[in-house]
């Protein structure tokens, strides 16, 4: 019997509402004092293709998901056995193979699946007549005849059934379902959903022997519900708090969600969100706005970023104060795998345009860091005028619910980074004729005082050509040298200004037998895996690279050269961080655990891969086990 340690999964066709019910479940658990980690897997398609949502629940903090599924909820047959019989090259083989021995499978009796055909004799099958139950609920309010129109409720019903297995208190679920349909106009729907879920709950208790079902779920130790945030929400909030006044975007998976989230805040928060005609427009509009005195930002993914590179060079040579570019990585190359995840864009972000120019690249590893780095980005842009400032986030995609401790405090406002209202938009004020203003004045630290259009006496010129302090074009040798040094010198300045803990993280024992090196979202999985290994008596630590440009080469080099054994972990084909580390430190990491199938690492994969390396094995690419 495992209490409060559950790996739950719901699968079904896109459009069948599985994400809604998974999120209801997650929220319910959180409110019940449990901790939750969730991920969503879906195709780049609107309707009908297989998607699934994992929710992992426990009493203590979680930062990753696991491979075994203790309770699988299947709305269709494909979820169980895959699409091999529809397609010449199967995309997947269903999730039955993932179910933990002793685990349970809740499925629709209408799905056309016969458990007898399965070779998984070690798991329990719970066929549930989902439509029947919906019909019953409808009949109770005299609408039995219309039941086909309510098919979408299946996911809620199946959710109810699955939780009955775990003896989860129905009341905890009920309130969240009801919340989902808070609005007055949902009065009927709300009641129906709760009722149908209840019927399913009872159906399971009535029809199956669930007494010795090995996975139990009940209220957890944490009284107050955590915030369950998706990456784009946290980044959006960080932008709001940092005083971003102008966000541009062009729709693209998975970055769109951030901008749509911000679009909804416009009225309340005095933020202007502009949907542009493409990403070239997005970046250049943001650069124009930044130069004109607002904190500006844009968000995109790989294909959109590829179109922004010209604008990034422009922002840099003109020393624009920003914009902040948020890049949500996805599976590449080219259009690639739009809704899947990969850490394949690092090298592009580091040299995103022709010539040598300064910009900043950070790669936060979790939501807390995403908040910090996004927030700081606006300040680094404004104060240091490192003027093209770019933020990179990987894999904080739409399906991820997460709840680091920081977000539990209702007063939480994020780190402030010395930032106050007075010095927000503020630019230097120039008194007209009294003093001449030069936008690109040569100063000891390379930072020129900044003006913006509309200011009295702050007129300036700016150009994407090489220029003089006045901003007029020059091709002279002297000025060229001065300006290159002025611009590039800001990278050294940034390395001094940016707090060390925003540059890198070193987690775990200093004298570890193995040092894991990684960046971005594998962080959580690595930390969870290290915990598992620690329990087995193994000493592993983790060097997290976070500031990618300028790169804290000295510290990273020191750590690596002292390490007993080093393994690189990345979700891409070519070990891009490994390449950066070699460039910056000369240290070439031999062992590389890479994954490039568009799926994130699971805790189990990570534990296995690291154990292998610890045991002296040669590190290999990790491939999601699909059958």
């Amino acid at each position: 019997m495992r209490k409060n340690q559950l790996n739950w999964m719901i699968g079904g066709p896109q459009g069948s509402g599985i994400n809604a019910s998974a999120e209801v479940f997650a929220r319910s658990c959180s409110r019940a004092g449990l901790r939750v980690y969730a991920t969503f897997d879906y195709h780049s398609n609107i309707m009908g293709k297989h998607s699934f949502y994992r929710v992992r629940v426990a009493d203590e903090d979680l930062r990753s998901f696991r491979d075994p599924v203790d309770v699988l909820v299947a709305l269709d047959e494909e979820t169980l056995t895959g699409d091999g019989h529809h397609r010449r090259w199967a995309t997947h083989f269903g999730h039955l193979h993932e179910v933990s021995p002793g685990g349970g499978v809740v499925f629709d009796t209408e799905a056309g699946f016969d458990p007898a055909t399965s070779d998984r004799k070690d798991i329990k099958f719970f066929p549930i007549p989902l439509m029947e139950l919906i019909k019953t609920a409808l009949t109770e309010i005299g609408k039995g005849g219309q039941f086909r129109a309510y098919e979408i409720m299946k996911n809620t019903v199946a959710l109810g059934a699955s939780l009955a297995l775990c003896d989860y208190p129905f009341a905890s679920l009920e309130s969240v379902i009801a919340d989902q349909f808070k609005a007055k106009r949902f009065d009927e729907i709300r009641g129906l959903n709760v009722r149908a879920a209840r019927l399913a709950f009872d159906y399971v208790r009535d029809h199956f022997n669930i007494k010795d079902f090995p996975y139990q779920l009940g209220p957890g130790p944490d009284a107050k519900a955590r915030i369950l945030a998706k990456g784009f929400e946290i980044i959006g909030i960080a932008k709001l708090k940092a005083g971003c006044a102008f966000q541009t975007y062009y729709p693209i998976s998975p970055a769109t969600d951030e901008s749509v989230f911000l679009e909804k805040q416009q009225r309340a928060q005095n933020l202007l969100v502009v949907q542009c005609e493409d990403e070239i427009s997005s970046i250049n509009m943001a650069v124009g706005a930044a130069h004109t005195g607002v904190r500006a930002s844009t968000a995109t993914s790989g294909p959109g970023f590829a179109l922004m590179v010209e604008g990034i060079g422009f922002a840099s040579i003109t020393e624009a104060p920003g914009p902040v570019v948020t890049l949500y990585q996805r599976g590449g190359p080219s259009t690639g795998m739009p809704t899947r995840q990969e850490q394949g864009d690092l090298l592009l972000t580091l040299h995103p345009a022709q010539g040598d120019f300064p910009h900043l690249v950070t790669a936060p590893g979790d939501l807390r860091e995403s908040y910090q780095d996004t927030f700081s980005a606006f300040n680094w842009a404004v104060y240091t005028t490192i003027d093209k400032l770019e933020l990179k986030y990987d894999k904080i995609e739409r399906g991820k619910l997460y709840h680091p401790g920081d977000f539990t405090d209702p007063q939480f406002k994020g780190p402030h980074d010395g930032f106050t209202a007075q010095n927000g938009h503020q630019t230097t004020q120039y008194g007209g004729a009294e003093k001449e203003y030069l936008r690109y004045a040569l100063t000891p630290d390379g930072i020129s005082p900044r003006s913006r259009p509309g200011q009295d006496g702050g007129r300036f010129w700016t150009t994407s050509d090489e220029h003089e302090p006045s901003g007029h074009i020059t091709e002279g040798v002297d000025m060229r040298i001065e300006m290159m040094r002025k611009r590039m010198g800001k990278l050294d300045l940034a390395l001094k200004l940016i707090p060390e803990d925003q540059q890198l993280g070193l987690w775990g024992p200093a004298d570890a037998d193995l040092t894991v090196v990684s960046w971005g979202s594998p962080k959580g999985t690595i930390l969870d895996a290290i915990k598992v290994l620690e329990a087995e008596g193994k000493k592993v630590n983790f060097l997290q690279c976070r500031l990618m440009r300028p790169f804290p080469a000295r510290r990273v080099g020191e750590i690596l050269r002292k390490a007993k054994k080093v393994v690189l972990v990345e979700e891409n084909y070519s070990g891009q961080l490994g390449q950066v580390i070699a460039t910056e430190t000369g240290f070439m990491i031999q062992e590389r655990v890479l994954k490039f199938d568009g799926r994130p690492f699971s805790e189990d994969e990570m534990v296995k891969a690291l154990s292998n390396v610890l045991a002296g094995g040669k590190a290999e690419a990790v491939v999601t086990v699909v059958r």
Binding site: R27, S30, R31, I227, L228, E233, I237, L240, G243, A245, F246, Q266, R267, Q269, N270, L272, V274, C276, E277, I280, S281, N284, M285, V287, G288, A289, A290, H291, T292, G293, V294, R295, A296, E310, G311, F314, F407, P410, Q411, F412, F419, T420, A421, G424, H425, R452, P453, G454, Q455, D456, G458, R459, F460, W461, T462, T463, S464, D465, H472, I473
Partner: protein
């Protein structure tokens, strides 16, 4: 665009930047520059409240010669940058400009989509039928079959019709001028700036260095059996492109169709206002979303005391 008067009266001279101008002698761009400066002085624009944005090309150098906030941006991207600037600070008069290659070729996507927004700016296109700065290739306004000095082959793409494009794209002020007629061009630019919404002024510009077809002499019709200008002013033939009642779809359509029909006239070529209508600007639409913007530029709004706790609370 409404214009805040400067503290003390400004003259054309006040809009001249102290920088040696390196266009070729006789370049039509000198005329456009002078027209702009004249219009700014006419309108008594405060140079501190004026921002001039340009693309890349010979024409793109213009802002450097103007004493105002000057942005010499990227080839083909001037409209997005200018739009960002204008939306960030609606207290600033925004004038964008660039070459015909810049605007109608590489920039065509932004030209079209900016028309859809109707942001309150003026956009001047220096139409010289060539890519000047890259040494005289055909630009998108050169007609099929024509060949200027440095082209090895005739053009085999049609020349664009910028006026018709602008109508279709949604510009609310559409005019044409001629660079060497500074007085008239200045008056058109002044009207364009005064217009509330996106104004296009397509300025026919001579490039004595590379364009040996559309020269000053050609525009003046010096080669004609009987010398006469190849240009005329729309108002001189009684044409009026101004929409009187913008809420009347019939009038809007009629005026648009009329402008399109005129835009195909090639000899003589019409100058003046082809079309003008007072329609909702992007800024107006935006301030329906963000009421504070109706009175305060974005760059001056307080965005540093936001309360996000309700957002966080909703995530529990």
């Amino acid at each position: 665009m409404s214009v805040e008067a400067p503290a003390k009266k400004v003259s054309v001279k006040d809009f001249r930047a102290d920088l040696h101008n390196d266009w070729c002698p006789g370049c039509g761009d000198f005329g456009i520059l002078a027209s702009m400066q004249t219009a700014f002085a006419q309108l008594q624009i405060n140079p501190d409240r004026l921002a001039v944005f340009s693309g890349i090309g010979c024409s793109g150098k213009t802002p450097h010669y103007i004493n105002a906030y000057g942005f010499h941006t990227l080839h083909g991207r001037v409209l997005p940058v200018a739009t960002g600037g204008r939306l960030a600070n609606s207290g600033v008069t925004v004038v964008a400009l660039g070459g015909d290659g810049d605007g109608y070729g590489i920039g065509a996507g932004y030209f079209v989509n900016s028309g859809r927004r109707n942001v309150d700016f003026t956009y001047l296109v220096h139409t010289n039928q060539v890519y000047g700065l890259t040494k005289g290739q055909a630009s998108p306004t050169l007609q099929r079959g024509r060949k200027t000095k440095s082209m090895p082959e005739r053009a085999i793409q049609d020349g664009i019709n910028p006026i018709a494009m602008a109508v279709a794209a949604g510009y609310t002020f559409i005019a044409r001028a001629y660079a060497l007629d500074v007085k008239y061009t200045a008056s058109i630019i002044a009207k364009a700036i005064q217009h509330k919404g996106s104004a296009l002024v397509d300025v026919l510009q001579t490039c004595p260095t590379y364009n040996d077809l559309y020269t000053k002499e050609w525009y003046e019709g010096a080669d004609l059996p009987e010398k006469r200008s190849r240009l005329y002013k729309l108002e001189d033939k009684g044409y009026d492109g101004v929409v009187k009642d913008p809420s009347d779809p019939q009038e809007l359509i009629a005026k648009k169709a009329g402008a399109v029909a005129r835009s195909y006239e090639v000899d003589p070529i019409p100058l003046g206002i082809y079309y003008q209508a007072n329609l909702q600007t992007y800024e107006e639409a935006v301030s329906e979303r963000i009421p504070a913007l109706a009175t305060t530029p974005l760059a001056e709004l307080d965005v540093f005391h936001r309360d996000v706790s309700p957002l966080l609370e909703a995530m529990r």
